[in-house]
């Protein structure tokens, strides 16, 4: 019953107008949700934002111990400091965003109908810097990740709400979806190979996380990085791991992928920044 209400709210928040007869984002989401409720019948879909920790008890116990001293705390305080420090011209990030940039991450990525492209939160941060005469920050890690970690922390509990406003946006969504399901690299694997078909199974020493709820906890502190990093940093890493040449961070391919990947989790709550291996 609770899940039904959840689904209805999620669907209601992303009504789209489309002329195509199939491949409709709303029904994509329904399909993905039924797929994962069948795969993990004992786990509530909204708990999938905890990924592997919702699936495996031993991993969860270790994670809860680690959360006593959350490794991302430093990133949040660095991010808050960076976010609240004014630019040389006296203005600040708050001036570029709705609600002063607080509690807005759940709306990203969004489709900019004027520029006709997907805009991610990291891009929006750099656009703000450029508009105010500052140098853009390198993507993926460091200052950009600290800032968006802070912004994510202010959105905790808010439900992801990515919208598809027009046909161009739908085309971007479709490109992202294509990318997600396309095999690539020497290992000839798609995102879906691990995170749809084999979610919950082991890949060497790791358990594969389900695609649904994956974006919610990014930027993430990964022990492998010994620091926080953005979702696109992980896309590049994943592509490298299957021996495909990674795309540039914030390339059209990765932005469209992030758009599709986040839309998939509409209705689930932001819980970033999170801790992962």
């Amino acid at each position: 019953m609770k899940r039904r209400i959840y689904l209805t709210l999620a669907l209601a928040s992303c009504i789209t107008v489309t002329t195509s007869t199939f491949a409709d984002p709303v029904s994509d989401n329904e399909t993905i949700r039924s797929y994962f409720s069948d795969k993990f019948p004992d786990i509530a879909l909204e708990d999938l934002v905890d990924g592997v920790y919702a699936i495996d008890k031993d991993s969860r116990d270790q994670w809860l111990q680690i959360e006593e001293f959350p490794p991302y705390e430093e990133a949040i305080s660095k991010g808050e400091k960076l976010f609240t420090t004014p630019f040389t011209n006296g203005k600040s990030y708050a001036g570029c965003f709705d609600n002063g940039g607080i509690s807005i991450k759940q709306n990203y990525p969004y489709f900019d109908t004027e520029k006709s492209q997907v805009v991610t939160l990291e891009q929006a941060v750099n656009n703000c810097r450029i508009e105010n005469g500052e140098q853009p920050l390198p993507y993926g890690k460091g200052a950009i990740a600290y800032i968006t970690s802070y912004m994510a922390s202010t959105s905790r509990g808010e439900l992801i709400n990515v919208t598809i406003p027009n046909d161009a946006a739908k085309a971007a969504y479709e490109e992202g979806k294509q990318f997600f399901y396309s095999r690539r690299g020497q290992l000839n694997m798609a995102c879906a190979t691990c995170h749809m078909a084999n979610a919950g199974k082991r890949l060497r020493a790791d358990i594969l996380s389900p695609a649904l709820g994956q974006v919610s906890h990014f930027p993430a502190f990964r022990f492998k990085w010994d620091d926080v990093g953005t979702i696109q940093r992980r896309y590049a890493g994943c592509n490298t791991q299957i021996r495909a040449k990674p795309f540039e961070l914030q390339s059209a391919q990765y932005r469209n992928l992030e758009y599709f990947h986040t839309y998939m989790s509409n209705g689930l709550a932001i819980n970033g920044p999170g801790t992962r291996k």
Partner: protein
């Protein structure tokens, strides 16, 4: 050091996270190829009043930012614990925590 100490089930549970590079002395600096000198905690102790309730002797195999958890009996909420570590270069850090 970040420390949490809680009294429950007739024991005091202590959890701590130490910020320390724990360099083994065997790794090389990527930029110039020089060995990064060894800097690692050798001893970590916990005092409850004048009683030593925990002592750990580490070697270079312990990883960066060690996390420890231990428990002891005989303490109660409101007591103070003193945790201290020493490393091979003589650096040290002391933290006091009140049991909750």
């Amino acid at each position: 050091m970040k420390v949490k100490a809680k009294f429950e089930n007739n024991k005091v549970e202590v959890k701590l996270l130490v910020k320390h590079p724990m360099d083994t002395g065997l790794q090389k600096d990527k930029k110039n190829g020089d060995l990064i000198p060894a800097k690692y905690i050798q001893e970590l102790s916990c005092m409850h009043g004048d009683k030593l309730v925990f002592l750990a002797n580490f070697g270079r195999a312990v990883s960066k930012d060690p996390y420890l958890a231990f428990s002891f009996s005989g303490g109660k909420a409101g007591d103070t614990l003193i945790l201290k570590w020493f490393d091979n270069l003589g650096d040290n850090e002391e933290t006091k925590v009140v049991i909750k």
